[in-house]
């Protein structure tokens, strides 16, 4: 007996699992919002989702009064792979009206409409709840349109609890704003990471998906520093000139995989030996497994951890180099490197820094970092002046690292205020560093930037409101004699 029971159970199981799974999409209008359902590619003509519990739940879909013109509700696109039933409930809101009818159409991608159901409301049964089940035998991509019609009286059509025999396949990004959308087409995704090959910067690498450049488009920006802080500068902004490009590589989960930075060393009009660092504000060093590509002198004053990041910092710090003059040699004559046109030009040097957050899918010990947690505003660049680790010079209003020496603040011309977040500015809010996203031809030695760029002062005095393109090479914008 037990054996027969087992055999029957097995046979039933086989029959059950050999049936194709029937997908069903349900619309009960419980979002309570016509706009939301329009966003989900449902469309409504003279119909709205209203707060009424007369069919089920709290909401149903209601037409306006049926007085001679049709009102309809159209579903989003459904991919029907197996024959099934379209089920729904309907009734009218009241008893008035000389005639009332509900028709349901099946609409194909070609636009063809097939009438699949008709219900003529009989007098005396207008408000009787009707539960319908309509066999759908055609497979493919379809919409269903519920069309109410009638004349006379004030009763409205009510519709709720629609079950559709298929899966949604609409493209909400093709929405015309009132629920009319296209259907989804399959996309190529070679690495199967969810990002279409056409959008994927790494179409065959499941661990990487996107390049996010700062500045935009992969251009190089320029950082131009004055290194005499906290003493007032000579404002030639060439004591350290570095071009930079940051590329935050993310995966399809929008986690940072790596930060690839390119630094082009261009000029140093300084007599001081200066280094360059970048802090990732808000990012713990434990979130990065490796920092590589930096250049530190033997016997350096920088203390690095095993990851290559600087040790003893709350936020991740990578010291790109500790002494510019160890990388680009002074040409032997003139002041500085590449700031005096009478001295030989020293070819630029480039450093490629890689910070690894996720290595072949393995996240660093401190966990992953989301794209929104490390925006470009987290890149906090600074000079370390005179090989004195505590003498950091940051872009204006960027906080110092844990290793700064607070004794320099509010000495000489510095007017930093830790409480208000004012950093590295004078009393008049003049800076020791500027950031030009578009790149920058810097002034010659001792030439003030305002003499080289003729609208610089207007830009500054207006706090950026005027001449936001002051760095351009437009007529009347530059004095080329002052520019290196």
């Amino acid at each position: 007996m037990k054996r027969y029971f087992l055999l029957i159970s097995l046979a039933l199981s086989f029959l059950w699992f050999s049936q194709p799974l029937l997908a069903i999409e349900t619309q009960d209008f419980e979002s309570g919002s016509t706009s939301i359902e329009e966003g989900n590619c449902w469309s409504f003509e003279e119909a709205d989702i209203v707060l009424k519990s007369n069919i089920s739940g709290s909401y149903l879909c209601q037409t306006t009064q049926l007085n001679g013109s049709t009102r309809w509700i159209k579903t989003a696109w459904i991919n029907i792979t197996t024959a099934g039933n379209l089920e729904f409930k309907h009734r009218l809101s009241g008893t008035s009206g000389s005639s009332r009818v509900l028709k349901v159409y099946q609409i194909g991608t070609s636009g063809s409409q097939t009438l699949i159901f008709t219900h003529n409301y009989q007098s005396g049964q207008y408000t009787t709840l009707q539960t319908e089940s309509v066999a759908i035998t055609e497979t493919g991509v379809y919409q269903f349109k519920f069309e109410f019609d009638g004349s006379g009286g004030s009763s409205k059509g009510w519709l709720d609890d629609i079950d559709m025999p298929g899966s949604y396949t609409f493209d909400p990004t093709s929405n015309n704003g009132s629920g009319t959308c296209g259907w989804l087409n399959p996309v190529l995704d070679a690495d199967n990471d969810g990002v279409a090959d056409a959008d994927d910067d790494y179409p065959t690498d499941p661990y990487r998906a996107y390049n996010n450049y700062y500045p935009a488009g992969g251009d190089f920006g320029t950082l131009a520093f004055e290194d005499n802080w906290p003493a007032r500068a000579d404002y030639d902004f060439n004591d350290l000139v570095i071009d930079y490009r940051m590329n935050t590589v993310t995966n399809s989960s929008n986690q940072v995989v790596e930060l690839l930075s390119t630094f082009v060393l261009r000029a140093s009009g300084a007599s001081f030996k200066n280094g360059l660092g970048v802090q990732l504000d808000g990012i713990s060093p434990s979130k990065i497994s490796l920092c590589s590509g930096y250049q530190l002198s033997s016997g350096t004053y920088i203390n690095t951890a095993s990851s290559g990041l600087e040790a003893n910092q709350t936020y991740a710090n990578c010291i790109v180099f500790d002494n510019f003059q160890n990388i680009m040699q002074h040409p032997g004559t003139g002041i500085g490197i590449n700031t005096d046109p009478s001295a030989p030009f020293v070819p630029y040097d480039t450093l490629e820094i890689a910070l690894i957050f996720i290595n072949n899918g393995i996240v660093a010990s401190g966990g992953y970092v989301l794209d929104s947690e490390m925006p470009s505003s987290a890149f906090n660049f600074y000079v370390i002046s005179k090989q004195d680790r505590g003498r950091e010079i940051h872009l204006p209003d960027h906080q110092p690292t844990d290793l700064y020496n607070p004794e320099f603040f509010n000495t000489l011309d510095d007017d930093s205020n830790v409480v208000t977040g004012k950093y590295y500015k004078t009393e008049n809010n003049l800076p020791w560093a500027i950031n030009i996203l578009q790149g920058f031809s810097y002034p010659k030695e001792t030439e003030k930037i305002s003499d080289a760029y003729l609208h610089f002062n207007e830009w500054a005095q207006s706090s950026g409101a005027q001449y936001s393109d002051w760095y351009e090479d437009f007529s009347g914008y530059r004095n080329p004699d002052k520019i290196y």
């Binding site: 999409e25 979002s31 919002s33 706009s35 939301i36 966003g39 989900n40 949604y168 609409f170 493209d171 909400p172 990004t173 093709s174 929405n175 704003g177 969810g194 990002v195 279409a196 959008d199 910067d201 998906a209 996107y210 390049n211 996010n212 700062y214 500045p215 935009a216 488009g217 251009d219 007032r232 404002y235 993310t250 399809s252 989960s253 929008n254 794209d371 929104s372 925006p375 470009s376 505003s377 872009l395 204006p396 209003d397 008049n428 003049l430 800076p431 560093a433 950031n435 996203l437 578009q438 003030k448 305002s450 002062n457 207007e458 500054a460 005095q461 706090s463 950026g464 936001s468 393109d469």
Partner: protein, 128 residues
């Protein structure tokens, strides 16, 4: 008589114009050392702009690449974004631009930057 009226009218108009408050024009210092700026000025040719996205409540998991570019076509940011998800990020946008361009699947929108914020809602009617 008409000439007198005309002269009177002219005199009144000149008088009114003279009473208009002169715009306060701050002289631009020749020397950068005399420049004074607001404490908020960043000394960067880019502005920090907050991009905000309101997701669409949906039973369907639809995701596509969200791309933000400058009006001249330079890509600022990309991510795989679920249409259901609210999202916010700070971007550094060159100060010369007043708009962000958003692409999401087949959707293309130009978003005006107002008070350092650019925003969009996937809910129809949710955009100002």
């Amino acid at each position: 008589m008409n000439q007198i009226k005309l002269l009177l009218l002219l005199a009144v108009m000149i008088g009114l114009a003279a009473c208009q408050k002169d715009e306060l024009v701050m002289p631009i210092p020749q020397d950068i050392e005399n420049v004074s700026t607001s404490e908020e000025f960043s000394w960067s040719t880019g502005d920090i702009v907050t991009f905000r996205l309101e997701g669409l409540p949906s039973k369907v998991a639809y995701a596509s690449t969200l791309t933000l570019t400058t009006p001249d076509g330079k890509i600022l940011f990309k991510r795989l974004h679920s249409i259901q998800e609210d999202f916010s990020i700070e971007l550094t946008v060159p100060s010369i631009h007043q708009n962000l361009e958003m692409t999401y699947g087949k959707m293309k929108k130009s978003l005006l930057i107002v008070n350092a914020v650019a925003e969009y809602s996937f809910i129809p009617g949710g955009n100002k």
